[in-house]
């Protein structure tokens, strides 16, 4: 008891401003945390509010919207709003981009984090982060001018702006993000894990495969998800690189159109409040659901892995 009295500033008698300050900061932090949820809900609400009236419009049928590939928003005779071809376009370009980007991205992250020398690592990190900062319209130009000529020369396709081009460009955009975030995740694994693996006589490869990848699983998944998120949401680059044709592809060398590129190309001309305008907002809602589904699926996958 007497020992406590001797302390210069016991915790119970902090000055009032300090207690109040802590309260304020606590509140600020809590509000910041909750605001993320509020913002997402508000964005969804406003997009849906713009879209909702069309659901009862006579030209609009929800089944046609989801399962027809006939997209004729400005037809003079028969207006049809079918987005199946656009959804398939988005999913196919994204799937191709993931298939290309995930192996290279994770491989790059493992190399930068575990295998290369310190000097090389610093240089690579700067270069990779610069790559991540290249604006998407520049990638679009690369797709339109460089990549399309390469594809025509290598495959003999009639047109170089197609699914393959869009997928490669999106993969090039996603890889730097996956590498840079994935590398952070691997770095966050405590060195004691590496030391333990070494002590047990594991080779470098065994250490990476059996110890580091499982330990950094959540971080690596976040890296892949952010990369995928960029691929699903990307607009400008795919608008320029995919050929922008409403068409369900049956091969890599066919042109497609994505949901995002379609909104970008058409929202400017659609008169505010018209059915066309509202249907474009509804495609925004559709994109929102696709992203949500991807995130939930990834979350469930991680939980499944954790249980094993």
């Amino acid at each position: 008891m007497s020992g406590e009295a001797l302390r210069p500033r016991p915790p119970t008698t902090r000055p009032l401003w300090s207690v109040a300050g802590e309260r304020v900061i606590e509140t600020v932090i809590r509000v910041s945390g909750v605001s993320a949820v509020v913002f997402v809900a508000a964005i969804f609400f406003f997009i849906f509010r713009e879209a909702a009236p069309v659901l009862w419009h006579k030209d609009f049928h929800i089944l046609e919207f989801l399962f027809s590939s006939e997209w004729y928003p400005t037809s003079a005779t028969n207006v049809r709003y079918g987005t199946l071809a656009l959804t398939v376009g988005t999913l196919s370009v994204t799937a191709l981009a993931i298939a290309l980007a995930v192996p290279f991205g994770l491989g790059g992250a493992v190399f930068v984090s575990e295998f290369c020398s310190r000097r090389l690592r610093e240089t690579l990190k700067i270069v990779i982060e610069l790559l991540a900062a290249i604006p998407s319209v520049v990638w679009g130009f690369v797709g339109l001018t460089v990549m399309s000529k390469v594809i025509v020369a290598l495959t003999g396709a009639p047109v170089g702006v197609n699914l393959l081009n869009g997928g490669v460009i999106l993969a090039l955009m996603s890889v730097p993000i996956i590498v840079s975030i994935g590398e952070d995740a691997l770095k966050a694994v405590p060195d004691s894990y590496r030391e333990a693996a070494l002590a047990l006589g594991a080779t470098r490869w065994q250490t990476v495969y059996r110890v580091l990848l499982p330990a950094a699983r959540n971080g690596l998944l976040a890296a892949v998800l952010l990369g995928v998120g960029r691929a699903v949401g990307e607009t400008m680059a795919v608008l320029m690189a995919t050929g922008h044709a409403v068409h369900i592809p049956d091969g890599l060398l066919q042109s497609v159109r994505t949901l995002t590129a379609n909104v970008a190309a058409e929202l400017g001309e659609a008169p505010a409040g018209s059915s066309h305008y509202r249907v474009l907002f509804l495609t925004g809602v559709l994109l929102f659901w696709i992203t949500l589904a991807v995130n939930v699926a990834a979350d469930l996958a991680v939980r499944g892995v954790r249980k094993k």
Partner: protein, 303 residues
């Protein structure tokens, strides 16, 4: 935490960006502050007309340095949509404004859109330079482009493309906000819809470039956008009738089937600087620039 790592990754680059942006803003302020008068005219719309609109704007700077003219494209529909909201001074359009667009403008702004015909253009049909085809009829074009059309391969209309195994026709079209798109739909397809699967380009020039890179392609665009890698087809209004080349004299004589007028639209009767600008565009100096850009000037006697 991960985000923080990203944000801190390039502090130097970020600072440089912020500084250079700030300098740009300052420079822009300095410029507009120093200008006498400082009127800005906003022009938006047709991609067909964006080149000539830009050329007018640049030349007008020399005539009237006190007036700045900002030009952007996007398609006739984009310009008209902006005019409906009253956010621009002049909309350029390669098609007529529709009745419901006029109505919407009247309702939103309380003003009547005023139309000026500032020139004429031939809408040309392009194929690759190596394509042996020289002329085509409008019905055949409709068979190629329309939703219920039957022609999907060059061999179906008796054309053999040299050095190509797969002769599927690559159709090159425009995005639906384009006035060229609507003009083609109304005058070639007879208001029917385009068959899906065409490559829909976002500009007049992109259509010609893609056709120039693709030996099995066919596309349409303003005749001013022709390039050495493509060939413009002669057009016949009906099978058996003579086909006419898209050029200035055939457009003026109205024998070329896809001749169209180029418009400017303003909100109500234009006043002041906008009025002076449109008068200058219709003057011999402005019409000379239109002609230099590959379009057909308005004949003063016929308007």
């Amino acid at each position: 935490m991960r985000h923080a790592t990203q944000a801190n990754a390039l502090p130097a680059l970020r600072t440089a960006l912020v500084l250079s942006t700030a300098m740009l803003v300052l420079a822009a302020c300095g410029k507009s502050g120093g200008r006498t008068g400082g009127t800005t005219i906003q022009v938006r719309g047709s991609d067909t007309m964006v080149n000539v609109a830009q050329a007018w704007a640049e030349e007008y700077q020399k005539v009237e340095p006190g007036v700045a003219i900002e030009v952007s494209g996007g398609g006739s529909g984009v310009g008209i949509a902006a005019l409906e909201k009253g956010t621009i001074d002049i909309a350029t359009a390669s098609r007529d404004m529709k009745a419901e667009e006029v109505e919407l403008t009247r309702r939103n702004t309380g003003k009547e859109p005023k139309e000026f015909v500032v020139g004429f253009d031939g809408l040309a049909v392009f194929v690759h330079r190596t394509n042996p085809l020289d002329e085509i009829g409008l019905e055949q074009l409709a068979e190629i482009f329309a939703e219920d059309g039957k022609v999907t391969r060059w061999s179906q209309i008796g054309v053999t493309i040299p050095g190509v195994a797969d002769d599927t026709i690559v159709r090159v079209s425009r995005q639906s906000s384009s006035g060229t798109y609507e003009f083609f739909r109304d005058h070639v397809l007879g208001k029917r819809d385009f068959r899906l699967g065409s490559r829909d380009m976002n500009g007049s020039k992109e259509v010609v470039e893609l056709v120039g890179n693709t030996s099995t392609a066919i596309g349409y665009s303003g005749m001013a956008y022709t390039m050495p890698t493509v060939k413009m087809l002669k057009l016949a209004a009906r099978a058996g009738e003579p086909a006419y080349e898209p050029n200035v004299s055939n457009t003026v004589a109205r024998v070329y089937p896809l001749a169209r007028s180029l418009h400017l639209y303003t909100l109500g009767e234009p006043q002041g600087a906008v009025r002076a600008y449109i008068d200058w565009i219709l003057s011999p100096a402005g019409q000379k620039i239109l002609e230099d850009n590959g379009y057909v000037p308005v004949n003063p006697q016929t308007t």
